[in-house]
Point group: D3
């Protein structure tokens, strides 16, 4: 049986921490769908199209990785693409409690799903999309925090 | 002296975790006012009337339980209904830090009040109103997460 | 029905934080057994007799409080004294996770028991028996950290 | 070389906990700029002018302390005023994880900066600006939570 | 390439939480070595032979699972059995911080290893080997906390 | 007035994380006493003499740093060397809660002392002396985890 995972997130924007999780998890799965969660009510810094383009720039030569988006329940998207695993990165203890609640509720609603966690690397621990957005908004340089292949135009 | 507690919360919506806390705390108090906090500025998924109705469906045959609402300081409502105890459920360490701050500030403002904490049951740990709301918004089935007697119409 | 609680602990030694929890919980119960846990394998700074004497000095004129000791499972002691509640103080998030595990396992083994938590006062948050023991061992003054009525002889 | 720190925050409003951190850190620095972060998109309870006036009332006779405001990256403000240290207070474990992320990202962007943490006093642990704002909004008395010299008019 | 994981632990004793993690992770790996860590200096409640026997009782008909033991560095054992993954269960935020340190140090010493985390089920959250040992020592019934197939003799 | 700090710890052994904290804090103080806590009852991997020698190797050409040891209360040692500051590194949320308790008790016993915290660098977060000891005991290579100038003989 094929081992299919989704890697869901808002990815506003995708960071070097996300990239590292995908790269290290790749050996474990036959296919990873990077699934950009779309929420029409929440203001994002980057549009859905931009967020998907950024991620494609990072993994475009990798046949195992496909960038998609979804709206609705994560488990419904899992059923749609036939995924049995949800891949998530863990940075901090605060992260953990939130991730645990989401994962256990997903499991309660759909027993065939398992959430598999990878740690971020120590040097990526402080980096999250919300802090990166803040730096971008104030005109700071985020090149250290995003994948080398990702091209955020007009951002110094 | 009568032992009166309030169980304050937004309850948007009331969950199976809330129900369990009230049921297990009931032996300790002569009266528990379930006090729906009302905040005119915050958008709720369910109206105040709906939230009160849901809770009433769960406890309607229990003379010890009364469903009320309040706007303003929790300690002012305590004084109004002559309550000496605030009842709260604890799920996680993150919960705990927030609850501790609120309880200690309440105590600093009104020395006669004590906050009494019950744990949620292990199987209810991942369930909170915010996750339940999210599932409802995306059309998911929340019947496992809300009290059996509670009837959320048009929700599958 | 009488509301009986036990307040179990090693109490090596009893601190001002423990005293405050008992005093604030007293209104909620008809009887509180302060139950000194005895572990023949662990080295304690104070003997069981000393620990019980210290606590008696604090509450000797209070008919609601009785100082006892036990060895074995806490829930077995609860059954023995007919207690339906275990009283515990909570100081920190780290405390909370430990207390939650113990309380939920007790509940799994004996469904009629409930653990009821009170917060320590903010100014007592850093005080725990292990730190107090350390200060005593190094000849420091612990009078700020123990109940006023408690007389630790030869301790400056 | 002069030891210059900034103490950045929203200070909506400044609390007794903030005051205590500044007072205890004062011996370590030659100059502390209390830097009110200004965010034109976020609703604050008090205007920038009010927030600066409150803090000035507390420290007006202290030549080491200067009240300023800034918009933009904190490290850019540090460069502007020639500060090598960012001063922050720590209250809780949840606080800590957030503060760590911010401080480590600041360090990644500007290697010459160090964030120096002081603890709040135990009795100030539950007090934060968000809770104080909430009490003010509901007409409660916050005099215990703000510096004695601070005059919030029309607040009982 | 074969996907080989080790599931290291002291397993003194193996619990229902461990069993659940192995069962849910099984689909992801071709082989899981349950690796009982042996520490000649630490007192264990059960001997190494007993601990291995218990685990064998649970998985004896499963060709994917093999029970082994090791002394020394976990990464050295990984190299020995050609494992690229370390499997661990996560229960709580406190667990998480400890697990993260171990996993990141393992990664720093041996870059080809990845630690993969599964959550325990909510109802297993309070169960850990240390609490189970404590209950056994006091003559309590642990049948709810250990796998159904595991036969701890003379334990009621 | 001279700004004198002590940096207390067991340092069994001193790590690259400790070194980084001292180096980054050095600009803030006129003198830092690295104070090796000595506990005759606890087994250490390295003797007091070895631990002091290791630290001296790291800072031997730095006139601001002096390596000492003490037995007894940390605040008594502070008084002895006329230090007004205790310097500590913070790695994780679990660390934080422990450090907070110690620091607040020290402050309660000796009001003139302040504990000043620096963060460890993200890449040093997983490294603590206990894990380093464990690696050494199992014959692993710890050169990445200790200062470059430190020479642990017979350790590969």
């Amino acid at each position: 049986m094929e081992k299919i995972a989704i890697f869901p997130g808002t990815f506003d924007p995708f960071t070097i921490g996300h990239e590292s999780v995908v790269n290290r998890a790749m050996g474990l799965f036959d296919k990873i769908y990077i699934a950009v969660g779309f929420n029409s009510k929440k203001d994002a810094l980057f549009s859905l199209a931009e967020r998907k383009k950024f991620i494609s720039q990072v993994f475009d030569d990798n046949p195992k990785i496909e960038v998609m988006h979804y709206e609705g329940l994560t488990i419904d998207f899992c059923k749609e693409v036939n995924a049995s695993y949800i891949l998530r990165g863990l940075r901090t203890a605060a992260d953990f409690e939130y991730e645990r609640a989401i994962a256990q509720v997903n499991k309660a609603m759909y027993d065939e799903i398992e959430t598999v966690f990878f740690l971020t690397m120590p040097e990526h621990t402080p980096i999250n999309s919300s802090i990166v957005r803040d730096v971008i908004r104030h005109g700071g340089d985020v090149s250290k925090f995003i994948p080398a292949k990702m091209r955020i135009k007009n951002i110094k």
